[in-house]
Symmetry: C2
Subunit: 416 residues, 2 copies
């Protein structure tokens, strides 16, 4: 039996045991894990230090090292996240619809767990705990495969969780860490259709694409955002400047940050130099512009075709001047990664046709794209942001980790 | 550009045009197609005759030829199906949830089309029209790949639909038939991730498994049913006999027909001979039994391990005696294809634990499994029965052909 087969079998068995756990038992365990993480914080930080040392030796960037780092405050934050998940309403067992049919059958469609979830993720070790908490709250077993650079941190976090599970009399195999971080084992996990019901990758475009390309297990695509803002000829230009600055610079490394700016030709001359000036006062941004925009932005570089397809995750933005709202929509539908897109306009018809036609999970009128987030959208949690159309689209909360089952009760009915 | 690329590009363009169609326009078109199919019935029957002649030359079974055959009555039935879809409530544009968040953003989650659906199916040509009608009602473009043996019938049906679309001023590319029925082209369709949003296979286990194995496009698995009935020690034995007879013999060729019988050892001696006798009076069934059942069923054959994993679709049934309800549940969870499963019992606890633990789309207490069906379940339509847990599970109606999109309207909000 291979390593993944062993993990897979244990996960399936654990998911069956989990089916019997009540909401109160689940919430008590989540609260216990929160307490244990804080109690064991020195051990966790010690293990995390090993990852940080290795990262420095490998010359990893300061931003990545910051994402990897755990301290008492961050561990308290992770514990607080667990307590919040404990407080969320339990979707399992909720009746989606129910009725008595013509034959007198009582048909009830209920929310049930998916079964076994696998997650492949990069860098930030808090994802281990977040993902476990959402999977556990929905009675799913989870197999975690984090990055090699966070292996000591992930091992420490998962061992604290497993100890808490054992002490609560629950099989610890409801959460398992793939400790062999080789590509071969990751690829075996992507093929494990007999054990894994859904695979959720979280990380950069390269990781997502590899998983999409190689996985036989059903995948929920997440997170890549080549996000556009279209400033229409009927835009409030001051509002547009505020929105572009926020969407591009408030946190450029995240998936809902803007990457590309489309401007209607009628207002390009008034808008682009004003935006450039406003940005220079706050946070300079490198523009990669088409010819028309280039004439209005003295410091810009000429954009290549690839620039318009790139998620920069940096203070860089592609810019294009369009001659109609429809051109903007068509352009976005060519380059979108189906995450978040925005229009700035005062015109109702322009706003509506943009929202109806642009093919993305979240389509904004007159607001920053930075709001696409499970917490901001009121889901109470977020396991990722789906950019596909099947199963779940946009920010995913607990409900995205559930399926449904029809319960049919009769008293001897047969079909005529 | 390959054949599938050409079809794919046209389908994507057509799906964008479709986005603008109103409910009244969609319903009018469906009604027009119904009228045209009846008006063109002689042409359709003439083309169908070519398929029937080829089928006879190829020595295809009488049952399969019957499935292939179209006559005036069946065409009227197909037309009636179209009128029923026209009458269904339109899910597109329905608001799933909506609220104003803390930032004053108006967030509305609406049902939207999936985009482009592909369907690979066998034999029955009415599937072309059914699938088109459900896809069209939900503003999706569809690519149909039917079997070689129905190619003339499918061409005729699709050409009548496309002519009606043209006359109504709608791009006929909202429905396209893959006229090259080679395996190579089918496999290219399974890889067409740039054009196809979801692939729904409909047919036998071999087709479903090939699609699952080879497809890169997201798949909704449908229809394979290794369906069990477990007769518990606390069953009403008369009811159990009625249910087994119905589930096994009323229409053995369909996916919700029973294939395997589990009997609690306490009542096996009373139940199995009585069932055998009752079946012989109605419709003899060949039992393939384990040792304990074999002793009680004089005409049975000894079951092989494979028999318990086989969807017979015939008057054949595997039989096993179990010593507990939990053994039945565990057995079913090993052999189930996650379609429909049933328990016959008077005991509340047995019924509940069976329904909670058995991992299938539809789990019955005291009723025949033959009821698993979109119409019987009140969905008003059925594009197939999903046996997977993601996106849709069990009978799929119009809603299964939709995704959702977040519409967010602000007045200049930025994230702090």
């Amino acid at each position: 039996m291979t390593y993944i087969e062993t993990l897979g079998k244990k996960a399936v068995a654990a998911s069956r045991d989990l089916a019997k756990l009540r909401t109160s038992e689940k919430n008590a365990l989540l609260t216990l894990v929160a307490k244990r993480l804080v109690a064991e914080r020195l051990y966790i930080i010690e293990e995390n230090t090993k990852d940080l040392a290795a990262a420095k030796d490998n010359g990893i960037s300061a931003i990545m090292i910051d994402r990897l780092m755990l301290n008492s405050e961050r561990i308290e934050g992770i514990a607080e996240g667990l307590r919040q998940v404990a407080d969320l309403e339990d979707p399992i067992g909720q009746v989606v619809r129910g009725y008595t049919n013509l034959d007198g059958l009582k048909i009830v469609q209920k929310r049930v767990p998916l079964g076994v979830i696998a997650m492949i993720f990069e860098s930030r070790p808090n994802v281990s705990v977040d993902a476990f908490s959402l999977a556990f709250k929905t009675n799913n077993a989870i197999i975690l495969r984090g990055g090699r650079d966070a292996i000591h941190s992930n091992k420490a976090l998962v061992s604290v969780i497993r100890k808490a599970l054992e002490d609560a009399g629950i099989t610890p195999d409801v959460v398992q860490l793939v400790e062999d971080t080789s590509h071969e084992v990751a690829e075996e996990l992507m093929q494990a259709v007999d054990y894994v019901d859904v695979l959720i990758p979280r990380g950069g475009a390269r990781l997502i694409n590899t998983v999409k390309e190689k996985s036989k297990v059903p995948v929920i695509e997440t997170g890549v955002g080549n996000v556009h803002i279209y400033v229409d000829e009927f835009a409030d230009l001051d509002m547009a400047i505020k929105i572009v600055i926020n969407a591009k610079t408030q946190r450029p490394s995240v998936c809902n940050a803007a990457e590309s700016l489309l401007v209607h030709e009628t207002i390009a001359e008034a808008f682009l130099p004003a935006l450039d000036k406003a940005l220079k006062a706050v946070q300079p941004v490198e523009f990669r512009a088409d010819d028309k925009a280039l004439a209005l932005l003295p410091d810009a570089r000429k954009a290549t075709a690839e620039d318009f397809a790139t998620e920069f995750l940096d203070y860089i933005m592609s810019v294009k001047v369009v001659s109609s709202s429809q051109e903007a929509i068509d352009w976005i539908n060519t380059y979108t990664t189906h995450h978040s897109e925005a229009i700035v306009t005062r015109d109702i018809e322009r706003a509506e046709s943009f929202q109806d036609q642009v093919d993305a999970a979240a389509v904004y009128v007159n607001a920053s794209t930075r709001f696409t987030d499970g917490f901001v959208f009121g889901l109470g949690a977020e396991i990722g942001i789906s950019t596909q159309k099947m199963h779940a689209r946009g920010p995913m909360g607990l409900e995205a980790l559930t399926s449904t089952k029809f319960y049919i009760n009769g008293n001897g009915q047969t079909r005529g």
